[in-house]
Symmetry: D2
Subunit: 141 residues, 4 copies
């Protein structure tokens, strides 16, 4: 795959807000958005033909997070069905950045819940940074 | 230590209910009680002169849970300071059972939040059951 | 619906184990099972034609948990697809008990992860126990 | 209190990493940092003579999060004792920004785990933005 094509791939995954996720304001607690981001990037990676689990177990590649940012737009509430839209925003040999867009579908309308991004290094079993991010994601340099 | 003496040891540990713990009923969500139980038994084991982390890393002893039960008495709420009281209820060569009592201190009064128990096997790095529970806890057979 | 018919209804819901759910043993942490149970009973109630959210908001009926028990059979691991099977095990005018069976599907085989039960009271907005459990679940007395 | 003095106040709160917090890499999962931030700002607000709980219940003031960012420096591991250092970084009439610094104390040394910030609006019970942030925090304009 070409890098420009990779940037076009968007994964859309749906999750339901559970009771556990809520806080006493009746909203999904603000750390859940990072869990949703994780679900989104796992599914995006799966859609690209890999699986996080195999990356870790077979290839010995880990993606520890270096930074995260979240802009909260509207609360998600108990039992809401929300959609996580995930893209690769930037790929280099040593790191990858994902962008996330979380919306609540309401018939034809949609309400923006949050957007955000996370940056991750490619790291080996020994904790050292790998320099073959393109190869890992099978992207032509 | 004699087994009868071990059964007398009670650990008391205090934790505060955070926003994350609450649900939209305004109560601590019902899975948090198992997290409190975990905090209680970790501190009890520490009080007995060991540390879970060392048990796992140095001794290669793990304590996967076999069963858990919880009786919920009264809700814990945001910002409550609760006390977890933990004892060893039963020790055998292959397993250990902890009992927990969670209360909310309110001046001299206390309100019972929950009680419960968990049973754990002693397991080695290879996943096989160990048969030296007394030795691990330094209890005379 | 007749009570005997209610007891025959089984909801089957699938969830994927996320990174958040795992602990350093590489297993789903033992409190997640209660979260799965919650997902199971929410979906069972939905399948019966109600929604927890509406019960709370419209009808002012809450189902706080009175007790829970879990028997852990085998670990669930990161990225496992697990199935939660939920039934009403007992209904009275004042309380309801759910039974849960969690399995990992592996082609035609299935591995039992856990089973358990929770008991809940029917409670009104004022915190008082309601005595119309049959009516709430539209079951003939 | 003068605004310049408010900015000098630093709260230091210690928490222990529990098993629940870890993931299968053996690190504290990346969403826990937001939970630690929450603990830090709750304790800072308490140190300033208020309590979140009272703000919500008595004064009807809520602080929903508008944005969050986290820079992850080093992993926190199971049983680590970590210190959360929290300050008010910016106060306006309609919003407040907290800065957080999370370190692991290791004797006299300390290792930086993460730093970050969150921004919150002052909001009333009706969900409308309040414009008396200075008054709420008893800061002279």
């Amino acid at each position: 795959m070409k890098l420009a094509d990779l940037y076009q791939v968007e994964n859309r995954t749906t999750v339901r807000v559970t009771y556990r996720d809520t806080d006493q304001m009746g909203h999904a607690y603000y750390a859940n958005h990072l869990v949703w981001f994780e679900i989104g990037r796992t599914e995006l990676v799966r859609q690209l033909g890999m699986a996080y689990r195999e990356m870790e177990q077979a290839a010995g590649v880990f993606l520890p997070v270096a930074s995260a940012q979240i802009a909260y737009r509207a609360p998600a509430r108990y039992d809401d069905l929300i959609e996580i839209r995930t893209r690769v925003a930037r790929l280099s040999h040593v790191s990858i950045e994902f962008h996330y867009h979380v919306v609540r579908r309401d018939g034809d309308d949609e309400v923006e819940i949050a957007q955000g991004s996370t940056r991750h290094a490619f790291v080996g079993r020994d904790g050292k940074v790998l320099k073959n991010g393109f190869e890992i994601l099978r992207v032509e340099g």
